[in-house]
């Protein structure tokens, strides 16, 4: 009987987390437009609803009712399945991401953990699964049978290889500090303001730069470079398949923000006048704001510059970071 309840609870948690992730692009697109607007001394969306609040819903309706165009010479099966391949891994990552330690449900006095599962290889799982998402982008670019999407897909694969390494190595420093691969233990190790950002500033900056490259945002949005590639890998996509790609991008951005908060900013640790989950959300929102802020400040890097930064600076620096961390810990 107890087991049934446990399974039920996990199912409920999975559904809730999935629903939240599916709905995330609504507030995030609104936020992105408002941030862009105010940075550019504009207002952003203002006409749909009060302060343009209904704009994301209008966009959603538009995407739902648009025609789903498949190019005549496209590889139809791959073309259809590519957005799904891109989307599934970013959702799967949240199986192990903790949002807080645990809360007690009132009335039935049941302890409820604020994560779906606590894997002992959590960080490894997250980095490995999140990296799979690039297959969707490559396949989408390839299956479109069109020049620019294909170039976008190729760039995406090259970029992912260069930056996945630096990202993982940046996380290794944190793992060494926490002596554990479990995300829950990593956060627990940072309780009481012993946040890793203090001990691992270099690691954090490598993580941040590699993270921006990993989620394909300006200044490293080579796969969908509007200036040279039209819209890059999703140039031929429309309607809901395009929406899936957008959803993937936004959820990936949230994933990197969440990881950054868990690895370097103490997760849900904070002054006790607010519950932990609120601190967690606030920190994630701050991270997302940083990504948007960066997007509307910097121009795009050239592709060879991107590779130079990845291989010649970030990778050696992250290795050095691991070395120094190891020496200090010993």
């Amino acid at each position: 009987m107890v087991n049934v309840l446990e399974v039920l609870l996990i199912c409920v948690k999975v559904v809730i987390v999935s629903l939240i992730l599916f709905m995330l692009p609504l507030p995030l697109t609104y936020m992105e437009r408002k941030v862009a607007g105010h940075i550019q001394v504009r207002l952003g969306p203002f006409r749909t609803g009060p302060h343009g609040l209904l704009q994301p819903f209008a966009d959603m309706l538009k995407l739902m009712f648009k025609e789903d165009v498949i190019p005549a010479k496209a590889d139809r099966f791959l073309f259809k399945i590519a957005p799904i391949i891109a989307m599934v891994p970013v959702f799967a990552v949240y199986a192990t991401v903790p949002f807080g330690e645990s809360v007690t449900i009132p009335f039935i006095n049941k302890e409820l953990t604020l994560y779906i599962s606590d894997m002992n290889v959590g960080i490894l799982y997250v980095l490995a699964i999140a990296g799979l998402s690039v297959y969707g982008i490559i396949l989408g670019g390839w299956a479109s049978n069109s020049k620019y999407p294909m170039l976008g897909g190729l760039r995406s694969s090259a970029q992912m290889i260069s930056y996945e390494l630096a990202l993982s190595f940046a996380a290794v420093g944190v793992v060494m500090m926490a002596n554990s691969l479990s995300l829950l233990d990593i956060v627990k190790g940072q309780y009481g303001w012993h946040w890793n950002i203090i001990y691992q500033p270099v690691g954090f900056f490598i993580f941040l730069i590699a993270g921006v490259a990993e989620i394909n945002r300006i200044p490293f949005d080579m796969p969908e470079d509007e200036g040279t590639l039209g819209a890059g890998y999703h140039a031929e996509y429309s309607a809901m398949r395009f929406a899936f790609f957008m959803l993937t991008e936004y959820v990936a951005m949230v994933t990197i923000s969440t990881l950054g908060v868990i690895l370097f900013f103490g997760g849900w640790d904070g002054p006790s006048f607010l519950p932990g989950i609120v601190w967690f959300v606030l920190k994630v929102v701050a991270f997302i704001y940083l990504f948007m802020w960066v997007r509307f400040t910097f121009p795009r890097y050239r592709f060879d510059q991107l590779m130079t930064i990845g291989w010649k600076i970030l990778l050696p620096l992250s290795l050095l970071n691991i070395l120094v961390t190891g020496l200090v810990i010993i």
Partner: protein, 192 residues
């Protein structure tokens, strides 16, 4: 780049690169702009632009202080019009005032042909015809674009002694012919 040039990179530049000084300066600029006042004009629902008095918008026909219309039906505006969009039919008013007797029986302008060059305004000897400041001229019917004397003689939404060049509060009003943006001249602001 030869070896000498490489050595010339100063320590200051290197430190600047290592600590992302340029990037942080850029971020500071955009963050500052986030909290400045936006320059977006929320036209037409809330705000509208009232042009300067030199603006050449919809024609207006004026009256003198006694309320008599100034137009004497001389047809100079029609003659000077490059697109020939003005039709004037003069008539005698029979008030016994000589040349001031003449008025226009019919004064009509086809706004679809008009290019708002202002030559009619220059040609007018009695300053009866002036180009006003109304510029929302879209309508749903072709008939709407033929404006007659009776419409143009009406009171002006923006009086001529109003300096203009300001943004005012406004209201969008719809009628069967089209839409009108009504400016509230009591509230003025300049965005710069």
């Amino acid at each position: 780049m030869n070896k000498n040039e490489k050595c010339n990179i100063s320590i200051r530049d290197l430190l600047k690169k290592v600590f992302f000084v340029d990037l942080i300066q850029g971020l500071a600029v955009t963050f500052g702009y986030t909290f400045t006042k936006t320059i977006t004009m929320r036209y037409p629902d809330e705000e509208t632009w009232v042009p300067y008095s030199r603006f050449r918008g919809l024609h207006t026909l004026n009256r003198n202080k006694e309320g008599r219309e100034l137009c004497v039906g001389c047809e100079l505006c029609a003659k000077s019009c490059p697109t020939q969009c003005i039709t004037v039919v003069p008539m005698e008013d029979k008030t016994g005032k000589g040349i001031a007797d003449r008025v226009a029986a019919r004064w009509e302008i086809n706004l679809l042909r008009c290019m708002f060059c202002g030559l009619c305004e220059d040609a007018c000897p009695t300053e009866a015809l002036r180009l006003g400041r109304q510029y929302e001229l879209a309508g749903k019917t072709m008939q709407r674009q033929l404006r007659s004397k009776e419409e143009l003689l009406g009171p002006q939404p923006v009086p001529f002694d109003f300096e203009g060049g300001v943004i005012t509060r406004a209201r969008l009003e719809r009628d069967e012919d089209g839409v009108v943006v009504k400016a509230d001249l009591s509230s003025q602001k300049r965005w710069w």
